[in-house]
Symmetry: C2
Subunit: 452 residues, 2 copies
């Protein structure tokens, strides 16, 4: 099925085509055929979106939600409308059937991120599970853009989940640190970005990845050490036009050629022969990418290119965004220390931030709260607990008590603080144990312990 975005792009192309034929005074039957197709596409568009096609106005442009790799925002306090996003991006919802299947195939209770819809959307995950059931290996690919030393709890979401996937499926994992991307987009030197890559790698390693099954790489280092990786980058670059990245990423003529060609570098790790040291040159090992939904444009492009260069399309698991303390309207900002809990925060900082900055869904006075109850759907403390509190029953009880008014905002915040403090302290303890030598080990291209 074509996604709304693909339909829109097809319409744009067809409109240009009709104009070109008219300008060239082409044969009338040819023009009529082109116009007819245009009309048909417009009808389809209206059917799917409920709105008329407007030239130059991509679907969702009028919506309140903006979601791309560089901007995420919404005016809705509950956060982005993820159901709409699934329609717009043309992905599939992670339904109970899929969660049950993951449980059956892995033999493990699904991770809370799956149970609670934090990973809510996917592409082709059933195919990866089909292969796995036939004793075929697949591999995981995720990544991080190292734009500063400071990482916050939200940055850990894909890694916590990926670590779980690695454990239950016992499969190899590659983690891309896009230091080249950060250099291209930010006012930073190459050396700074490369340094942040190594520092961030320590936080990632602290999540508990198995060094025997995990390869972490800086783009700057790996591009300059792998002929096969660069070959795949060039292959992808040959099969994507500026028009396409303009449509997908919104690039303009005044963007650098580095930005314009970068998507190929984020695409390349989706293909197993980018890592000959791991997959011994095999081109057909399926790839599963857990990532936040804002990264999907990169992989829509990747999946479009894959069959044209003879590779399998990567499968995806999309997560929702981790809300800022101030509310779910936007992603957190690494540059605003009060917008989130950082991995370096002290117990006191955690307590103060939650108490002072966490947006509350409670009522203004205790009396009112007891009477009318709070709204957990817009309460950031409650949202954070859905990410980090393991016990489903306890979470459900908190939700009910907060909704009824039995649980006060201060009490809810206290539960969150007591959940975050030991979690962050444990992370800090584990990170301390990550030596430069260990980072080097994880980041050295080498064979992994893989069972094909």
């Amino acid at each position: 099925m074509m996604s709304v975005m693909e339909l829109y792009q097809k319409l744009e192309t067809q409109a240009v085509q009709v104009k070109a034929l008219e300008t060239a005074k082409a044969d009338k039957t040819e023009i009529d055929a082109a116009v007819q197709l245009l009309q048909k596409l417009k009808v389809d568009y209206k059917q799917v979106t409920g709105e008329d096609y407007k030239a130059g106005c991509p679907p969702g442009a009028d919506d309140e939600d903006t979601v791309d790799p560089w901007n995420v925002s919404t005016s809705n306090a509950k956060g982005v409308d993820y159901e709409k996003l699934i329609v717009r991006f043309g992905s599939s919802k992670i339904d109970k059937e899929l969660v049950d299947r993951v449980e059956k195939v892995s033999g493990q209770k699904p991770h809370r991120f799956l149970r609670r819809g934090i990973f809510f959307s996917h592409r082709d995950v059933h195919q990866v599970l089909d292969a796995y059931e036939k004793d075929k290996c697949f591999y995981l690919y995720t990544g991080r853009g190292p734009s500063s030393e400071a990482m916050h709890v939200g940055h850990l979401i894909p890694f916590i989940f990926t670590k779980w996937l690695q454990d239950v499926f016992d499969i190899p994992l590659v983690i891309q640190m896009t230091d080249d991307e950060k250099y291209l987009w930010k006012d930073l030197t190459l050396e700074e970005c490369h340094h942040y890559a190594a520092e961030n790698a320590k936080d990632i390693i602290a999540c508990g990845f198995d060094v025997n099954k995990t390869f972490i790489f800086s783009d700057l280092d790996y591009m300059g050490s792998s002929r096969d990786f660069y070959s795949n980058v060039v292959k992808i670059q040959k099969h994507v036009t500026f028009n396409q990245v303009k449509g997908i990423f919104g690039f303009s003529d005044s963007d650098s050629i580095g930005k314009i060609s970068f998507p190929a570098i984020q695409a390349a790790p989706s293909f197993s022969n980018s890592f000959p040291q791991i997959f011994r040159g095999r081109t057909d090992v399926p790839c599963l990418i857990p990532c936040a939904i804002d990264q999907d444009p990169y992989f829509r492009m990747t999946r479009d290119v894959a069959p044209r260069i003879g590779y399998p399309k990567p499968a995806l698991l999309h997560s929702t965004f981790f809300p800022a303390l101030q509310g779910a309207q936007t992603k957190m900002s690494a540059s605003d220390p009060n917008s989130s809990i950082f991995l370096t925060d002290t117990p006191k900082q955690i307590k103060d931030k939650v108490n002072c900055h966490a947006f509350s869904g409670g009522k203004d006075t205790v009396e009112e709260h007891r009477k009318h109850g709070g709204n957990p759907d817009i309460d950031v403390s409650f949202m954070y607990l859905t990410f980090f509190l393991e016990d489903d029953e306890q979470l459900e009880k908190i939700r009910q008590d907060y909704t009824s008014g039995a649980l006060l905002t201060g009490e809810l915040k206290k539960i969150l603080i007591e959940t975050l403090q030991p979690m962050i302290a444990e992370h800090q303890e584990k990170r301390k144990q990550v030596t430069d030598e260990m980072v080097k080990q994880f980041m050295t291209p080498r064979p992994l312990k893989v069972n094909f």
Copy 2:
């Protein structure tokens, strides 16, 4: 001094600026100032080109000559108007003073390509010679796009001259084989382009380069083995916009992102720290690039970027084009075997091609030729002799005798055949001696014997 092209680009920008101010209903004094600058630029443009500025019409667009990395053509039988090209590109003519200086600094008689204006244009060569005179090393950089196994004599021109420069200045040389470029532009596989790179390297090595001072590299291999090379590529890519490459190379929105970002890869070898194994990380070793003038757009871009990323601008030596046997209106085509003398041609093939296909400036009958004489300026056999006959006096005598009619076309062709046959046979002999082991040696990143 600004080149005509730079002036034109400045005008285009200023015109957009004026329009933007008017649209935004900006302050009147601001608009007036912008309009005034626009008028001044228009006057400058008219003064330099003798023509009115027309929006969207780059200088030379109305000329008969097309010269860019992918197209060279002219309707003039004498070939491209190189004097006009110098004005259009904003380069400098190689005058007697520069040729004399090369002789003085190198202590050697200038190569026939310099004596005869085959290398006719340059950028900043005086600066490289200044540095050399102060005992500062510089290095040479040239390249080849390996699109097939077949190379013709014209392909050797930059290499013959570069070999001479390496000998007389005793300096290191890097040769880029742009196999990635050929993959991006042609209907070829990566493997084919990479294979052609190694095959073409054999013909290049047969020109006599010193393995101790020469590094030949395939982009596909070197990008994947040098962190420093990729770092420079990314630095360049960050500082060049799509608008710029559109203006310089004529790329369009439907070009692949690989093509759009490739110019950075041809630019990177202009900076010495792209080769840390040779220059030990130094960023300031000056670079001199001998190449055909159609490659100049790449290096105009490189020279524009260089100061913004803290590197010296490369100097250039530009050659004219080697004419096709059919005439100087176009470059030779590797796909038409009769358009040139190939490096694999037998003595008989050489004889037949010259006799049957070399465009003649002679008269139709012996009687007329004896009476009116021939025109060496449009005679391809004579042009070829200016490239390959070493003896200046003999060449001048041939010119005079052909012009007077004393020398017949058949006789002129015979001289060319007798010049080419032993030259090509010698090349074939030398190429036979180039083993795969030698190619590997030349193409291995390693320190060179360099005197700093």
